[in-house]
């Protein structure tokens, strides 16, 4: 039996055997169907090209250059559209299947609609930049050792509009969408009730922090751990509550997470939840390949990402008393 992942964590125990019995047959089927799908795509492209050729031919009689242009552009567009559509459908089916199977193995729920969370708190606390368009790529909800959590892959974009000579914003043809965040948003229930807001943001050097402090509605909370202070700036609506939540032990755990995630981690306590964002441009749960080896690598990658999430929740020790 070939193994696709090293079962070096308790959560991964039995994963390879599960993969072989539950997932591998479908992956192999995708691999075997590859030629069938390609051949079907080719037939569809040919079918689409026929009317384009007829149109191009008719045009050629009237205006040769236009006829050639229609023929070439039409053929290319039809080929690209058909190939993309067929491959996307095949990949989406596989992705859905893999997510379903992984959910069953790890006892999780994949939520592709992202309905669990409204992300308002993320914007409110500045864990994600201002955006005009939000797309949830994938969602994952579940419980780890009694702690409920939700994870969403987000793609946030801001509208960049150009102004005409009169100073009016042009938001139609001239609008560009700029990616301002592509990463992961994680919500973890917090065991203790609290009423205020505490935000842990990345340190932005003395000048950056000073400007940020002026724009935020919360007070700066200065904590006693110099290492933590070097990496983060903490703001809170209640000085005591912020310190109640950010105990020295919890600060150490956040610092460890920050070091694992290479500077891209921010967090907040709000509405009785601990939320955090990781802006690392990663797509964590995609399955998009034709060869069985590449698909296996991607599935192993997803399993590792889920384990990382588990490690993170375990590291935060959410079920342990805040003090004690």
């Amino acid at each position: 039996m070939t193994s696709i992942i090293t079962e070096d964590r308790p959560a991964l125990a039995g994963f390879n055997a599960y993969y072989q019995t539950e997932i591998a047959p479908r992956v192999n089927a995708v691999k075997n169907n590859r030629w069938r799908i390609l051949s079907s795509t080719r037939n569809r492209i040919l079918a689409a090209i026929l009317p384009i050729t007829a149109l191009g031919g008719a045009l050629y009689v009237v205006h040769p250059a236009a006829g050639v242009a229609v023929l070439i552009c039409g053929a290319i567009a039809a080929s690209m559209f058909m190939a993309r559509q067929r491959s996307a459908t095949a990949h989406d089916d596989l992705k859905e299947f893999v997510q379903e199977k992984l959910s069953a193995f790890f006892d999780l729920t994949f939520d592709r609609e992202g309905t669990y969370y409204d992300f308002v708190a993320y914007r409110h606390t500045g864990l994600v930049p201002n955006y005009d368009r939000l797309r949830v790529i994938d969602g994952l909800t579940g419980t780890r050792n009694g702690v409920h959590f939700a994870l969403h892959e987000l793609h946030l974009e801001a509208r960049k509009s150009f102004r005409n000579a009169g100073g009016f914003a042009l938001i139609d043809r001239n609008t560009q969408w700029l990616t301002v965040f592509r990463g992961t948003a994680i919500v973890i229930e917090f065991p203790k009730p609290f009423s205020g807001t505490t935000v842990v943001r990345r340190d932005k050097s003395a000048a950056g922090n000073a400007v940020e402090a002026l724009t935020l509605p919360w007070e700066r909370v200065r904590l006693e751990d110099p290492e933590f202070e070097r990496h983060f700036e903490v703001y809170g609506s209640d000085q005591i509550e912020s310190r109640y939540l950010l105990t020295p032990a919890f600060m150490e755990r956040l610092l460890a997470m920050h070091q694992n995630l290479h500077m891209s981690f921010q967090a907040a306590f709000i509405h009785n939840e601990f939320i955090c964002s990781v802006n690392d441009l990663k797509t964590r749960f995609a399955v998009r390949a034709w060869s069985a080896e590449a698909i296996e690598d991607q599935i192993a990658g997803i399993a590792r990402e889920i384990c990382f999430l588990f490690d993170m929740i375990d590291a935060l020790q959410m079920k342990q008393p805040v003090h004690g």
Partner: protein, 190 residues
Amino acid sequence: MEILLLVIAVIAIILYFLYVALIKRRNTAREALSSIDVQLRKRHDLVPNVVTLAQKFMTHERELLEGITQARNLAQSSYSRDDPAAVAEHLGAEAKLQSGLMHLFAVAENYPELRSAETIQNAQQTVNEVEGHIAAARRFYNSAVTDLNNAVEIWPSSVIAGMVGVKQMPFFEIEDEAVREPVNVADYMK
């Protein structure tokens, strides 16, 4: 002459800002002290319940229980927040009360009936919560006092502090080694 006036004006402005910063720090430290008192009051409210409960089972620990009650009374007495010595005395009394409480929970280890009582288990949770808030308030207070004391000690704000009578304030320190350990009453009540 004009240059001299300009220099005097600049110095006056600098002194004014130093004065403002100093007073702000003193007020923050006072605010933090008030916050501590709010949290400590929660502990004071808990002490009679814990002591009454313990008295039922810990018949041989009368001295300890009386000591805790006395420490609570001492800690509850009023004090002047503007007088650093009075503040230090007040915080010292609180430290003694906390030390007494921790000692009580340590001794309670020898009383299995007390450990298994449902009321004491509920009390444990509440005490944990309260101690957590007190620890947070203490961190806020000590942070504010550090800022204030730095300003009072370091020149040139030390000069202004001397002129307007702003004094250093004492830290809320825990002297007892046992109290330095994270407070988890559940450990004592297993």
